[in-house]
Symmetry: D3
Subunit: 190 residues, 6 copies
Amino acid sequence: MAMPVVELHVLEGHNPKEKQRLGQALTDAVRFVVPANPDLVTIMIHDMPTENYYRGRTQRTPAPARPDPKLIIKTYLLRMEARDLAKARAMLDKNFTMTFPGTKPMTSLEELIEWSKPRYKFVTKTYEGFDAMQSTGDASIVYCHGTLQGEYHDDSSFEGIRFIDRFEVIDGKITKQDVWNDMAEVRVDT
Amino acid sequence: MAMPVVELHVLEGHNPKEKQRLGQALTDAVRFVVPANPDLVTIMIHDMPTENYYRGRTQRTPAPARPDPKLIIKTYLLRMEARDLAKARAMLDKNFTMTFPGTKPMTSLEELIEWSKPRYKFVTKTYEGFDAMQSTGDASIVYCHGTLQGEYHDDSSFEGIRFIDRFEVIDGKITKQDVWNDMAEVRVDT
Amino acid sequence: MAMPVVELHVLEGHNPKEKQRLGQALTDAVRFVVPANPDLVTIMIHDMPTENYYRGRTQRTPAPARPDPKLIIKTYLLRMEARDLAKARAMLDKNFTMTFPGTKPMTSLEELIEWSKPRYKFVTKTYEGFDAMQSTGDASIVYCHGTLQGEYHDDSSFEGIRFIDRFEVIDGKITKQDVWNDMAEVRVDT
Amino acid sequence: MAMPVVELHVLEGHNPKEKQRLGQALTDAVRFVVPANPDLVTIMIHDMPTENYYRGRTQRTPAPARPDPKLIIKTYLLRMEARDLAKARAMLDKNFTMTFPGTKPMTSLEELIEWSKPRYKFVTKTYEGFDAMQSTGDASIVYCHGTLQGEYHDDSSFEGIRFIDRFEVIDGKITKQDVWNDMAEVRVDT
Amino acid sequence: MAMPVVELHVLEGHNPKEKQRLGQALTDAVRFVVPANPDLVTIMIHDMPTENYYRGRTQRTPAPARPDPKLIIKTYLLRMEARDLAKARAMLDKNFTMTFPGTKPMTSLEELIEWSKPRYKFVTKTYEGFDAMQSTGDASIVYCHGTLQGEYHDDSSFEGIRFIDRFEVIDGKITKQDVWNDMAEVRVDT
Amino acid sequence: MAMPVVELHVLEGHNPKEKQRLGQALTDAVRFVVPANPDLVTIMIHDMPTENYYRGRTQRTPAPARPDPKLIIKTYLLRMEARDLAKARAMLDKNFTMTFPGTKPMTSLEELIEWSKPRYKFVTKTYEGFDAMQSTGDASIVYCHGTLQGEYHDDSSFEGIRFIDRFEVIDGKITKQDVWNDMAEVRVDT
């Protein structure tokens, strides 16, 4: 088995967390094709000072890193679960849309609250996993899936209902949320 | 804006398609953190002949590349839609499990057929997008989402029902399929 | 004294002469700033096969190298000295202009012949040196200087008259020629 | 179109201006052969601390960079135009020679002044462009061309007379100046 | 003749002496196969900050460098010659063994003293050279050879008796010493 | 623990065995200072075609690799043990000298045969190990040690007598051999 070695040359200015995300994303990218054990994939980041890096005969200014989209989504989900709508809303892009089972695209959290009201008293999520990647465009994509638990309006409780969310994040703001779950399936069965 | 440059040193033996997947995955990995236009990300793959590459003082043999998981899933979905169960089954790992809305994990396509019989006469899929990435383990993960159309047993037709599938692929075999959709939601509403 | 090392990564497809020109130009570029003996400057060219080189997630096609502008000018000067106007003209860009001592910019070799007729019967050049470089635009620039010898219409001969030519070459065609020499100075003195 | 990438490994100790000159000279050197848009040429300078760089099993001491020859010539030309002979003379190498139209090689600025006295009362230069490059030896070469304006001794003025200068600079001192212009040509015509 | 160039990428944290040893060892390693003059071998060490270096998706902690085994052996030999047994003993591994001409492997310096007592009053060493290298295991190997001089118990002196020592050093401790010399040969002859 | 990565840039033309020796020597050189497990040391050899490698603005011709000195010594020892003096002699440099216990430097194998005649009927060697390295000069150094067995002239046999040889090899020829062993010591004791 070989040891793929990746060298990334990039303008300096990224902090250790950003570099760690680069190290992880590059390792995963290599392993997407090369079946190497992660321990055998080496990533080396060469920070280039602006005065050592020229394109078009001139120095270049580094842009700030994209924020971690997985962290953004985790924060958003926490705020929604805590019903801190003001703080959650602050994370949404002005063109934000969300689609829930059986809904048209909604653009405000208020619509979501209205939609959910007849369905359950409250719901919380148990997460089985998050996946995040960059699209070929500006959007970072985050998936999370797991199970829902909560209470219906008749005080009966539910749990173990499968769900999956798909998010798009651009410039640190959530632009799109798509939600699927088995709530209707479960209710139909019961 | 800078121009990140990635150099990948890897044992030779990958074909152009595999290198292209590497080029794409590495570009996306950089852009997951560095907000560079794709046109400004350069990927250079240095193929190392085995006689030029040593670890532990000895030459190393390259392992064959992982097959493209997105292509595997697209092929599988085509075969399922064509009800070519034999060929579809050949793509499943012996530990394959699949979970559909309201089902326990099923292990054979026959179970799936049984499960779906009372639900609809037939169903086909319109895809909005595929996302693929490597997990930190051996599994490659593929998501696809879009809408379902087909006919119920009462000859009424449906369309535009949202769905999402999540697959795991290991060593070229599908090990896991998780499916969510709005069929029950839609039926409840109708 | 250090040993600067230059690595050039470039799409494969350049022939040995083109690589030699790269090796020379890069050596001179380093020595323009770093006062190293040429023997201590190492240039390594890494030819990248197209299938190993990605920008914007896609392969790139190499463009043919610029032809050697010094060679172009030497050929042109030989053809002019041999009065092979047809072949010399074929080397000129459609926007070609030339300026000789005391002339406005001329656009055809015929104008030049007319201008020179009253001045001398014939003239040939002895070269002391050629310098060539790339401008920041598309033009390559070539200088040559040396001395003129020939015969005036009164059958008297001249020699050792200093001259300098400045050429611009774009896409293999000569777009501009500027000529200075001491002919008038010499005649004034005589 | 490809994106040539140049990596220069050099002992640390160059200031940002010197690195910028390296970035520019290396970009131009690549573009002398590879017809890439400047914006697609990336230059990365790897500064090597002396303790990280060995030749012949020993550390090496970096030499100071060559001063910018274009800047030296511009300064010299300004001082000459201001007739600040003392400061201009300080920039000349002890083996300095200069050749003007119709002169033998002269070695002192006084000779030049004597030579010019009968020719004009004063002259100033309008520059159209400077070109600089490194020769294969120690000399850096600088060309500048443009037009002359000034006054003759009969109080008549002149302008638009083409000139070109060629300089050689070694170790920060001007060793050679060659001048061509159309003054005699113009006077002959008038 | 070419100029081999070695780049070593290693976690930062080595001091200049350790880097110099790396520079020397790498130069010698190249020259073991490539017959280049040492002055033509360039070694460049790229110190990687831990935050820029990933293996298995995680940062790695650098281990302290191995101490210089040649220096360890020179110190040990000095201490033995000065009969500073306590300090010499502190340099020995707990599994230390030594074999001298005609002895079984001994494990303590006291045994050595006992063995030597009947042989000579004292002995000192003149060194002709030290060679050191890394084995394929954990042990660094040090050879030294030269000549012995001293006095026998009959007050007669000897000199110029050839010897050679072979040492193994692991984790900074001496684990093995093997000694050969011509003392018996010389006594037989006398 | 880190994963040191070595890149060697060298003119192409070395065969796989020579590259393997480079891979091994470079691994050992790194491990002489950096306490990494061999499995974590990666060596990558970049073969440079002559047309891609410039020093002093010109291409360079690769020199043939030094032959493997360990192999040379093993062959020599086999030939000596087989008393194939003609073939053994062919491996000696014209300035070859050898020193055995109690001898002055000898220059011919015949001298050695003469020296050994009174000492034993025959002797063969059992090897415990070979070590080889490059000196800072042209000589490669090879050590081997182990034990001797054979027969004395009184038909008694001996075995387990420790020996060590030190060889120097230049340009594929043996220039120096130094031998130490315990034969005299053993005879003294018996």
